[in-house]
Symmetry: C2
Subunit: 199 residues, 2 copies
């Protein structure tokens, strides 16, 4: 915290830019994120950020990678502690993911903004690392026969789609005033049991 005297060499510009950018991102969205404004707030000239990020997109990409890292750590932590049946651990995964999505909606959007970033190997890597634990969870459950594995790929896809869709729907504000955790566990339960009525 020694922000007292603004030295010529800031010393920690890159990290502070990222921190400031992430703060701004969640309050104003990507549209309202301005490199010049960040520089102004930090107390540095408008050209300084260029030394660390060649352009604005590079800053956004770095933010996305940090987001994947953080998400990965949260998933690892949550799933590391989770014990019990597959259903319970799956619910933990869903809740952790949804919690991250609601806590950092703009950041999550940035992470999956593949529209304009067709190729970004670092992002793909970060993505893979982040979801390592849940992927292992699913694979393990299939190997142990806890879930259907006629077509493992299909089952995994349905699972990920549902959780991703949950996050979309919740961050989109489409669940009204329903309690988030109840919606999440209810959806997981429904998914496990199937939509068809029990005979």
């Amino acid at each position: 915290m020694a922000e007292a005297i603004p030295r010529y060499h800031h010393g920690n510009l890159r990290a502070e830019l990222l921190a400031s950018a992430e703060r701004k991102l969640e309050t104003t969205g990507v549209q309202g994120l301005s490199l010049r404004e960040l520089a102004r707030e930090i107390g540095v000239s408008h050209g300084a950020p260029r030394q660390h990020f060649p352009d604005k997109q590079a800053l956004l990409d770095a933010l996305a990678v940090l987001g994947f890292d953080r998400l990965g750590r949260e998933l690892d932590a949550a799933l590391g502690e989770a014990e019990g049946a597959f259903a319970d651990r799956l619910t933990v995964f869903a809740r952790t993911y949804v919690r991250f999505a609601t806590a950092h909606p703009a950041l999550l959007a940035l992470m999956f903004a593949r529209k304009d970033r067709p190729d970004a190997p670092e992002l793909l890597e970060a993505n893979g690392r982040a979801f390592a634990a849940p992927v292992a969870l699913i694979a393990g459950a299939q190997a142990a026969g806890e879930i259907d594995s006629d077509d493992p790929d299909r089952v995994a896809m349905a699972l990920l789609a549902t959780i991703q869709g949950l996050a979309s729907i919740i961050t989109g504000g489409m669940i009204g005033d329903r309690p988030v955790d109840a919606v999440v566990s209810g959806t997981i339960e429904t998914l496990l049991r199937g939509l068809r009525p029990a005979r």
Copy 2:
């Protein structure tokens, strides 16, 4: 047609702005959409769009409403023709939605960009109209006992989440080279049957 002589009064500026904007949107994304550039292409001064849209967000909102209208028409048409069991009609819904999502990813993102538009009644209305047919489909199936209705809300939520998630995953390019229609119908089948192994 008849673009020959650029008259002072364009006569159809609003509609042409929307058409041009939608075209540009899918090629360059929201970021690359510039009011001035649109005006330039249409051959009108940079201030002209302001007569029809007070600001850029108004143009984007209008685009989103048009998107909901179009999606609604496609869903109505597809579900109107669909016959057979609930599972089949559900698959038709999912395919139609996913097809729309892949055909107009940027437009869809705009439609659900609630992040910065907390309240926009016209968008909510358009949203409701667009999904009238699938909502009726689900309600009907629950009434007819074709799907579980212990908690209708929960079931509907799981269904919509899965389909929305499918669209996200597919437009995000996360299905690799798997055939889209197979992924869609496989996911729906898995959802109907449930993840737990058949005893």
